[in-house]
């Protein structure tokens, strides 16, 4: 029983970790908490659905198409809105992402209606692998593996590529990076694109389990934030660990205490972590100069 709960916790946790990672990439680079992340992932998932259903294309085309659209949305958000803010305070930047979230939500509802669609992946969520007493569905296993591979790829990208280095430099000190010839604006747009693509993968992994509708990512968005807060918004490994922890804690709560109030766990964790250790498990607490 316990192992089974832990396995499904890991599968959920992978999704939360991806959402948290997507937000942390943007937050670290531009100190924008991107509330449009969920809707950006929803639109990308709809695009995958359209390519699959209307055009009958094979899945890898849909996957690539969704990623391309996600990157485009991320770049639009940065280039057209975030960069144009007159007074880029925390509140104003947040309001911009909230406005963008509303636009995307309205667009999704207008284009595809509020009725629930089904995204059919080539991986089944009914068939299971058995080992001992425990089972794991193909989809859950794929979710765990895809998330792990993607996170590894993001890590390698950050550590070993030119763009990754530029991103890290921008995160550390924008002005210093600019002086050293890093095209900071383009790097920021790149960070938004990267985070949107990570979010889109999370969206495509969530949609087969739940359903595809305009509000589908609200819950994963909150969980992603909770994961990010738990691990520390400023630490990418912290966010990933936070995601897995949240998934496991939530499933333990659901299995042993109450299934109905499972979704409240995320809020409780946010409040507890922020009261006890506001910078999260692995984040560094910022010090503000007066």
């Amino acid at each position: 029983m316990l192992e089974q709960v832990l396995i499904s916790g890991l599968a959920y946790g992978s999704i939360y970790a991806l959402m948290g990672l997507a937000m942390a990439i943007v937050y670290k680079t531009s100190s924008v908490a991107n509330f449009a992340q969920g809707e950006m992932a929803t639109i990308s998932t709809y695009v995958a659905w359209v390519i699959l259903v209307s055009h009958g294309a094979p899945f890898h085309f849909a996957f690539a198409g969704a990623l391309a659209v996600a990157a485009a949305i991320g770049i639009v958000l940065e280039f057209a809105f975030v960069r144009r803010a007159k007074q880029p305070t925390v509140l104003n930047l947040m309001i911009i992402t909230l406005g963008f979230q509303m636009i995307l939500y309205g667009f999704a509802g207008w284009r595809w209606g509020a009725d629930q669609k089904r995204l059919q992946l080539p991986i089944s969520d009914r068939e299971v692998f058995r080992f001992g007493e425990n089972t794991i569905s193909h989809l859950s296993l794929a979710t765990i593996l895809i998330a792990a591979v993607l996170m590894l790829a993001v890590y390698l990208f950050f550590q070993f590529t030119r763009w990754g280095t530029a991103l890290r430099a921008t995160q550390q000190n924008r002005n210093a990076a600019r002086i050293h010839g890093v095209p900071v604006n383009r790097v920021m747009a790149g960070a938004f694109a990267l985070s949107a693509m990570v979010g889109a993968v999370a969206g495509m992994l969530v949609a087969p389990v739940t359903t595809l509708d305009p509000t589908m990512m609200w819950d994963p968005l909150l969980k992603g934030f909770a994961a990010a807060v738990l691990g520390g918004l400023t630490s990418l490994p912290g966010v990933i660990i936070g995601g897995y922890l949240l998934g496991i804690i939530e499933n333990l709560f659901g299995a042993y205490i109450s299934v109905e109030f499972k979704s409240v766990v995320a809020f409780a964790i946010i409040v507890i972590v922020l009261c006890v250790r506001p910078s999260g498990l692995m984040g560094r607490h910022y010090v503000r100069k007066v």
């Binding site: 309001i95 406005g99 009261c275």
Partner: protein
């Protein structure tokens, strides 16, 4: 001429301002006898949203703390007042006040962790609060689950005020009273403490403002307004269910405040009226002249006709972004700029 600070912040500084206020009150009093039921319903909704917006503005605009969970407070107010009236037979005005105070005490509790948080962390925590509230309400049998509750008829003493006019009397008078209260509060010591915290909490603390006290107080007052508005929203709509208090509604409340102008009293009133109006128009956008058929044709070609009312979200989102990018003071800033421009006209 303004002689001192108190002269500057007086409610009606000149005779002209007093005259306009009097005209406004007379107009508000006469309206229910002239207006059609739909217009009355619209005005009722506007009054309710005005109350939420004024309360939210005390928190966001004056104290500088963000909340993305105000729909949660509205939900708490709505369910409290409905349950008190229908289950315990409490008279409506008392139930409404109780709704406000319960919401305020929960706001106080939420304000406690907010002491250590700022910026995005606070937004995330309040977002979580809003979502958790609707989950708890939707899963609890007492609250009617996802089906929601039917609101009992409104009675004050022997009077039955369930008609649109009766509800108008309640909502609009409450909105006026609460607006005046907010205006007065902002002129007081408390209001100045809020604004000091917004401008710089560290400087405020140095000047002797008790941060813990005033931040939680701000949350509590803001939640009180939302709770009262919730009780009124319930009687305007006649039924409540958890889906009415979701995340996007919280963002909509924030949009009203931002569109109107942060840190003013007139701003959120204008913003709430504008956004409520847009929302109601978008719900029947097909019947509008000119744009209606145009949008319908466009929808048939590229979008879905059933999803057409969603243009309201696109419009509100655009307003939010444009306000931040072009005119951070919102409608109020536009008004001030126009006034200054015409003041010296034609020179």
């Amino acid at each position: 001429m303004k002689r001192d600070y108190f002269d500057d912040v007086r409610l009606a500084r000149t005779g002209a301002a007093r005259l306009w206020l009097a005209i406004l009150f007379v107009a508000l009093a006469v309206t229910p006898f002239l207006a059609s039921p739909f217009l009355l319903y619209t005005l009722n909704l506007m009054a309710v949203n005005v109350i939420v917006a004024i309360g939210l503005n005390i928190l966001v605009g004056y104290t500088g703390q963000i909340s993305l969970g105000h729909a949660g407070f509205v939900a708490i107010g709505a369910y409290t007042s409905v349950l008190l009236v229908s289950r315990l037979g409490v008279p409506f005005p008392i139930a409404l006040l109780a709704a406000g105070f319960l919401s305020a005490s929960i706001g106080f509790l939420l304000g406690l962790p907010a002491l250590r948080l700022e910026g995005p962390y606070l937004a995330i925590a309040t977002l979580g609060f809003g979502m958790a509230t609707t989950v708890v309400i939707g899963r609890t049998a007492l609250f009617g689950g996802h089906m929601g509750l039917v609101v009992p008829p409104v009675r004050i003493g022997p009077l039955d005020l369930s008609s649109d006019r009766g509800i108008y009397a309640i909502t609009v008078s409450t909105a006026v009273i609460l607006a005046l209260m907010a205006r007065n509060l902002m002129r007081s010591r408390t209001g100045r403490a809020f604004q000091a915290i917004r401008d710089s909490d560290i400087a405020a603390q140095m000047a002797g403002v008790d941060l813990a006290r005033y931040k939680t107080l701000s949350f509590a007052i803001s939640a009180f307004y939302a709770g009262i508005a919730g009780g009124l929203w319930a009687i305007v709509l006649g039924f409540i269910n958890p889906g009415m208090f979701n995340f996007i509604v919280s963002v909509l409340f924030l949009a009203m405040v931002v569109a109107g102008g942060l840190g003013t009293i007139a701003g959120p009133i204008a913003g709430a009226i504008l956004i409520t109006f847009l929302n109601l128009q978008a719900a029947k956008v097909q019947t509008l002249p000119l744009i209606g058929p145009l949008l319908e044709g466009f929808s048939r070609q590229f979008m879905t006709v059933g999803g057409l009312p969603n243009v309201t979200w696109i419009l509100t989102g655009l307003i939010l972004i444009l306000i931040v990018v072009l005119e951070p003071m919102g409608l109020y800033g536009l008004w001030i700029r126009t006034k200054i421009y015409w003041k010296t006209w034609p020179f």
